[in-house]
Symmetry: D2
């Protein structure tokens, strides 16, 4: 029997039918390449509906690219970026931020994947000291890599602290749709309106074939981003197909439906497993991830049938992800298998 990879990552799910339809519809006649086409124009307009009319939008291939372009837009190589040790930019991008921007990452230990102003303050001692990489940017991930969600108030507090200390605030929004759904807020409300300066907006994990965007809320800061995107190898030639997907996702609440469903499935999974003896939910389930610890023996049995990532080998903590197309049946089956493994 093949191993079930459903819960391994929201990247393991495919393309939502409406997204695929959008690709098909965009596949008609010629279109100018590199973003000078009507589909890209429409996508940018759609982004501005959500993020405000000043939003400066750059469509890109993937999240690592979006993060690197965001950093490169607001920092120079002698700058440092303050982030959680769990941040994707710190833990999962093979040194792309350092390699592509030259910046130093100042990674902070966080219990729940969320930065606080105190965390940031600790790294501000060396400012103006020529021997220290100069912090220019704080990066938070919404929802976080541990499945937790910053409240709008928390984002606002961090933004205020950043701006009060001459720092910009970047949001890695690879799963920001899940966060907005969790908070019952709009996409703009939890980002630009809360003080975020630049955003990596994620589409791929929420039902696209591929497609992300850099959204800068202060166009005067992103005058160079057009060139940065190209030099950082993130300019698509047939951009209409990325644009059409993002337009579809941001239309008719598709982003919200997909994200809400994924979140709901995660809570359902939590509900179904939280009372299993020996199993412990180790992070609040606020978006589409369930982090749990379970006995090593149970884990080994479970891994014979399901593929997922062990987050902490020492503590036997694992991550189970839900997606826009995870079904209740899949949750039930998975929960039953987990329960059986823990017997």
């Amino acid at each position: 029997m093949a191993i079930d990879t459903t819960f391994g990552s929201d990247n393991h799910s495919g393309i939502h039918p409406r997204i695929l339809d959008a690709i098909k519809e965009a596949n008609s006649g010629p279109a100018v390449a590199y973003g000078l086409d009507a589909h890209t124009e429409a996508a940018v307009a759609k982004f501005r509906e959500h993020f405000g009319k000043n939003a400066d939008v750059y469509l890109v291939f993937n999240g690592t690219g979006a993060n690197v372009i965001s950093i490169s837009t607001l920092a120079r190589s002698f700058n440092a970026v303050i982030c959680s040790e769990h941040a994707h930019i710190n833990a999962d991008e093979c040194g792309a931020p350092e390699g592509a921007t030259g910046c130093k990452l100042l990674a902070v230990h966080t219990a729940d994947g969320k930065l606080t102003c105190d965390h940031i303050a600790r790294h501000l001692q060396g400012r103006l000291d020529q021997h220290r990489a100069q912090p220019a940017l704080v990066s938070i991930t919404q929802s976080s890599e541990l499945g937790t969600v910053y409240s709008v108030e928390e984002v606002k507090a961090i933004a205020a602290f950043c701006h009060g200390h001459g720092l910009y605030l970047h949001m890695d929004g690879a799963r920001m749709c899940n966060a907005a759904a969790s908070l019952s807020k709009g996409l703009g409300e939890i980002s630009g309106a809360a003080g975020v300066d630049i955003l990596s907006f994620g589409g791929t994990k929420n039902g696209l074939l591929l497609g992300e965007a850099v959204v800068c809320f202060h166009p005067e800061l992103s005058r160079d981003t057009l060139f940065i995107r190209k030099q950082k190898m993130q300019l698509a030639s047939k951009m209409r197909f990325i644009a059409a997907q993002l337009t579809a996702m941001l239309s008719d609440d598709l982003w919200l439906q997909n994200a809400s469903h994924a979140n709901l499935m995660a809570r359902l999974l939590e509900e179904k497993v939280k009372d299993i003896p020996g199993l412990k939910i180790v992070q609040p389930v606020q978006a589409n991830a369930v982090f749990a610890s379970l006995p090593r023996r149970a884990l080994d049995k479970l891994l014979e049938k399901y593929f997922f990532y062990t987050w902490d080998e020492e503590k036997n903590e694992v991550r189970w992800m839900c997606s826009w197309n995870t079904s209740e049946q899949q949750i039930s089956d998975f929960a039953a298998t987990i329960r059986a493994s823990c017997l």
Copy 2:
């Protein structure tokens, strides 16, 4: 009336129906992300049918990414890359090669976009001189940015020269299908078998939504390429959808049909316009591009109806590209409009 963009670039054409079908078929069930899925495995196997069983294959987003990964695989930052001044890496990537690899490009003036051994030899004087960036790699584009094609013998001669001088040979094959079709040769025959060490294989311009690949013919040279691809921001999460496209393209001669058609349309266009008084075909039409010069006044009239790129403002030289889906009717209409513009 809208301006017709058909001849502006082969990037202006859309997705071939069989490619779109392949995406749809791949959109079934979960699949492990980042290339560890069956679709990617199948794509790699398909590449090896064409390029040999030792070919080490890395799927990526775009051509600039493929070129940067190729350079980074075979050169270090103190190295130099010898290429034509018209090379995409030199003229059209916003400094991505320099920015992402640190290497210096030694760009050579070429009349027809094709490098020769003499061109390369000129840049070998400073070897072992610690003040000079050390040439490590020669990069040729097949078909070239000026629509010309290297014969297999020419590639072999360059490869022999390179290897005799301790240089690697990179082929930017963004349009290598057009070159192979033009030469009536296989894809492997004109690259690895002719001495190319590393290849940027292009799919996008030949009918894909997006998808390119780095193909290294000596696996012992590409041990680090997995990490280079990630750090250079070219690792797709839902890679199955890039893989499925490339598999479809390399199956049942789709690559050849598409490329042959585009080449045929270019020759047809040449045929229909070459006798127009005042118009001059300025490069041999060997692949899917027609380079022509025509009087400024004619050009201005033509640009009112068609969008295309002026390659040399001073000489009024322009580029007309044909694609896998350019129709004979479009050629006839375009040729007639050109003729009328030249009256």
Copy 3:
């Protein structure tokens, strides 16, 4: 009264008379630039007396340059370097390692500035995972930034661990003369012979005008270092003057006399202040640094007369450095002032 800066850093001291004499002697007649002169040849020979006949030696301007060249010699941009959080490369080089090599630094919390095998092991989990910067190099500082010294056995254990795990070992030896003096060992004994693969050898802090060196103990690993040094902007034109200084320092035990004296002064200072009520020596005094904590009020009084660095603002921990030319009188005066400040 001017503030006394004697104890602020060993960089605050000047040039030893024998070093200055060496500069003067080298200032005779023309000499080929860029290291192809007899003085540089003599310096390299002198280094080989200490570090073995295989030592591959590159003279450079400063320690940051030596560290960057060392990293760049043994790592590529997708690699990571494991080091102490206090390491100069991590804390005091304004992001030069990241900016100039692209590598990620994996900084480990250490109580005494010294790495252990356990520290290193923690960062080896993500090996072969394409999402993680791949550890290639461990960097230790001898003597450490906290004034502690690795025993030869400790260095050997780390080297064995590194080599058993496919890692290279770099030693930042900005103050390695102090460490060797402290251990009563030779320079080669505590570096190459103990398993160090590449070394940043420091001269400036031990009595030079300026001058450091990269010493690679496996010449097959440093074939590119000549070019790396130039591209990293560390190639001196009139290199004879750096060479002559280093030759003088490595001759007639000058390195040892200078370092021993500095170490002795540090121990004398410790001796004279350790019984002061409220003052606490917070690190073992093993080289030429004394780390102490004292009451905030005492610190403020002391800082009116002496300039030195506060290492930990929260804990009121400060660093006092001794140098090759610190006198017993200066120690007595300083100790007395400290005592008076603590009253």
Copy 4:
């Protein structure tokens, strides 16, 4: 008999006695490191006497470092730098500008090493095109690598053209003292006052042990240069010794005496050899270099006794450099040997 290296480079000469005295005088007591000392303060003040009170001055180790810091101050990685193909940054720095700044160099063929506005204009076509590295900076070398000198009017014309096209002007002034002496102008007159925005000021070739400086004429442009200098590995710890040298050089016309003497010796050499049959002076002798061609056989004979660089192997063009300490006797002897070689 040893080969005479006197005419190989002005880097082959040693330290002027007054510079050595300045080092000795600065070697008294402790001094705060990294440029926060009285000697550095005095050097900056001295620079401002020559370059104006707004000049923002950063002392560095070498010319490559000064050039990289200058570029990094005024350009980002997606920018391009327009320069002569003979420019040191293009031909002699092992790709340091590309590697350390990410910028592309757009190298222009020049007959005499001097850029013109026409040269620059040719590279401005691709502005605002996202595929092209964006020109931000023009770099001229004064005196040029071919021993020629820009008149003040020429510099002013280039500066006006640059500023009219949104470009900054950098001067590589490794030998600017020779240029100023040649023009009978002040150092500020030929740089900042003529429209140069940032300057690499050279001291080493004009009699220092080592020492150069970045001088920015618009302090609002160099707010980050402090950090750039450190990250680019050009911050000296015992900076007082670089500062003292530069102060001495800029005092009592030492810069002018040294440069004038070197220039005079070059003209004397030209005078003594220009009538030799078969020998041709191939560049105007305007500074301290003589470029000549002579028969291959003569060259080979000469190279048995003197070391110097062949600039163009095909044309048998060589470079003979004079220095602050070249003597009339050396000129006479060398000229006689040249004459004998040509018999």
